[in-house]
């Protein structure tokens, strides 16, 4: 483990068919980091997340999780350390919210006996933490988008992971739910030292909630640092091909972007 990273990508390349979609990415997460991964559509954010979570092996380079080579670890071992919240989840069968959060215990529960008392306690604790106890007996399929997102995060927390990876956790949500989910992530990060890496579409929200940002363009990291360092007018113009003016957020002082449309 170099420099105390708990999750580290070293020189990672990846291609689906021809042409690299991830090019020589090196990125390290330390325990307690909360990092936003930003970049335009097709820049490789989701792909990078899938590689970091071990779902797809890199074409070259390596991923290190707590000092071990991710490629050598079983899914069960990985799932005890990394939980992933997908952008969308198409749930089969009308499992209740409680049953679904319990699925997060899969990497811990013994195969034959199923849930033990300890597992049920964890499920109750994380549901309380997120504040969704009142949904416990509802079928997941009947929930609204915001409720679903909270349930999926809760299921991930039931894995008791060290690292939480999220793919666009706010993308289909109304702003109240966006704020709710991001506040929850920040609270988990601050209170429990949960390491968080999330891809983000909304740059202003990313600046508000993440200590560090990584800007990805065409599969390469073009900027990495605090929101002030990454969200610069030149970077945005080059990567997103959009004109913006960077202002300061009125209460928190983090960068806040205002879009400057072409003259009409």
């Amino acid at each position: 483990m170099s420099e105390g990273y708990i999750l580290e990508a070293r020189g990672v390349d990846f291609s689906y068919y021809d042409g690299l979609v991830i090019k020589g990415v090196s990125l390290g997460l330390k325990k307690g980091d909360i990092v936003g991964l930003i970049g335009p559509n097709g820049s490789g954010k989701t792909t990078l997340l899938r590689i970091l979570s071990g779902f797809m092996p890199p074409k070259s380079g390596s991923i290190c999780l707590s000092g071990r080579d991710l490629g050598q670890m079983s899914r069960r071992d990985i799932a005890r350390l990394i939980a992933v919240v997908p952008q969308e989840l198409e749930m089969l069968f009308s499992f209740s919210v409680w049953e679904m959060v319990m699925m997060g215990r899969t990497p811990h529960a013994p195969r034959l006996l199923g849930a033990r008392r300890g597992d049920r306690e964890v499920v109750e604790r994380v549901m309380e933490r997120v504040g969704i106890q009142y949904l416990a007996q509802r079928p997941f399929q009947e929930l609204s988008g915001g409720e679903r997102q909270k349930v999926i995060v809760t299921m991930a927390l039931a894995q008791e992971p060290d690292i939480l990876l999220l793919d666009e956790p706010t993308v289909h949500l109304d702003i109240n739910h966006q704020v709710e989910v991001l506040e929850l992530l920040r609270r988990l990060n601050r209170e429990s030292g949960l390491t968080v890496l999330a891809t983000m579409h909304d740059l202003n929200l990313a600046a508000l909630y993440f200590d560090n940002l990584v800007l990805l363009n065409e599969g390469e990291i073009v900027s990495h640092g605090t929101p002030e360092e990454v969200l610069q007018e030149a970077n945005i113009r080059r990567v997103f091909e959009a004109s913006v003016e960077i202002q300061k957020h009125p209460t928190l002082g983090v960068p806040h972007m205002v879009i400057l449309p072409p003259p009409r």
Partner: protein, 343 residues
């Protein structure tokens, strides 16, 4: 397992035992229910009951009815369990035990065996069940290898490859049927399925195979739950998806092939009983898998009973009963539940 689940399974098991005794007692010669129960109990180790039944009745129950009822029971167990496995694994409500080629392979195997002029008997198996068993597994093997893309087996490719191979095998079978002349009737009867062929020697081999397959699948009930989240998310909660897929495909196919070797192609049970069980017991595979299996066994035992009784002394194909009785019951359940049935 939760206490509630154990109670449900115990109740189902109890009803199933009653069903078996009832099916053994009814027929051309009616042996009273309590006599059958006493007779069966007397066969248990450590139970000593003086016979209150005639030797003739004993022969009818033990040598004729019980093999047949047992055949219905294990075939029902196997098909319903395989149906649950395939529906969960392939994430497809129309999946049944035959969906990835077992039916076509088994039917072709059986047809060839029926048309061969030789008779071979091996451990109580005639050539037909053996050929059906081998044909079913061979077809699945071909389908699986056709569907594999590198290290993965995408579900869509699997379903389509299964469909293509089944169609081809069915065409070959139709061709053979055209040429078969007097064998035609036997082939048609075999494809409609039936439990009249149950023999103890054969059941003694097939039953352990089916119980083993079900027990083994049960180890993966929790993983089948996780697979409902989709393959990618299942991997994220710790399921080795591709490995599990292969194991469950093999187990499901083995259960199906074992069932087919006893009964021919009995339809409906493997498709609809899993849905009925899901409507009644919910989607958790830790309860669903055993509950659907017991329900399938019960359903097929009673269906076969009706098939024997309705037009006695003639016999209806059991597939006619399973669909004729089962379909309306399924529709009733589907309409009765206030919620939309969320597959």
């Amino acid at each position: 397992m939760a206490k509630r689940s154990l109670i449900v399974l115990a109740l189902l098991g109890g009803v199933l035992i009653l069903g078996v005794v009832l099916a053994a007692s009814l027929g051309a010669v009616v042996v009273p229910f309590d006599q059958v129960a006493r007779l069966l109990l007397s066969r248990l180790p450590g139970v000593d009951l003086s016979p209150t039944w005639s030797e003739g009745e004993e022969a009818i129950i033990l040598q004729i009815r019980l093999p047949r009822v047992t055949a219905a029971l294990v075939v029902g167990l196997a098909l319903a369990a395989a149906g649950v496995i395939f529906q969960g694994l392939l994430r497809n409500p129309m999946a049944d035990p035959y969906i990835i080629g077992t039916s076509g392979g088994a039917a072709l195997g059986a047809t060839v065996a029926l048309l061969l002029p030789v008779q071979i008997v091996w451990y109580g198996f005639t050539l037909v069940p053996l050929a059906a068993f081998v044909g079913a597994l061979a077809a699945v093997l071909v389908v699986y290898n056709l569907a594999r893309v590198g290290p993965r087996t995408p579900v869509t490719t699997l379903l389509l490859a299964g469909f293509a191979v089944s169609s081809m095998l069915a065409a070959v079978m139709s061709f053979l049927m055209m040429l078969s002349g007097t064998g035609l009737r036997r082939i048609i009867l075999w494809t409609m399925g039936g439990l009249g062929g149950g023999r103890w020697e054969q059941l003694l081999i097939v039953t352990p195979l089916i119980l083993l397959g079900m027990g083994w699948s049960y180890l993966y009930a929790g993983d089948l739950n996780a697979l409902a989240l989709g393959e990618e998310q299942a991997a994220y909660v710790g399921v080795p998806v591709e490995r599990r897929k292969v194991t469950l495909l093999i187990l499901g196919s083995l259960l199906t092939a074992a069932a087919v070797s006893v009964s021919g192609l009995v339809g409906f049970v493997g498709l609809v009983i899993p849905h009925v069980a899901r409507l009644i017991f919910g989607p958790d595979h830790r309860l669903l898998l055993p509950a659907a299996a017991l329900l399938g066994g019960l359903f097929l035992v009673l269906s076969d009973l009706l098939a024997r009784l309705l037009l006695a002394p003639a016999e209806l194909p059991v597939g006619v009963i399973t669909a004729l009785v089962g379909a309306p019951f399924f529709i009733y359940l589907l309409r009765r539940s206030k919620r939309e049935y969320g597959f």
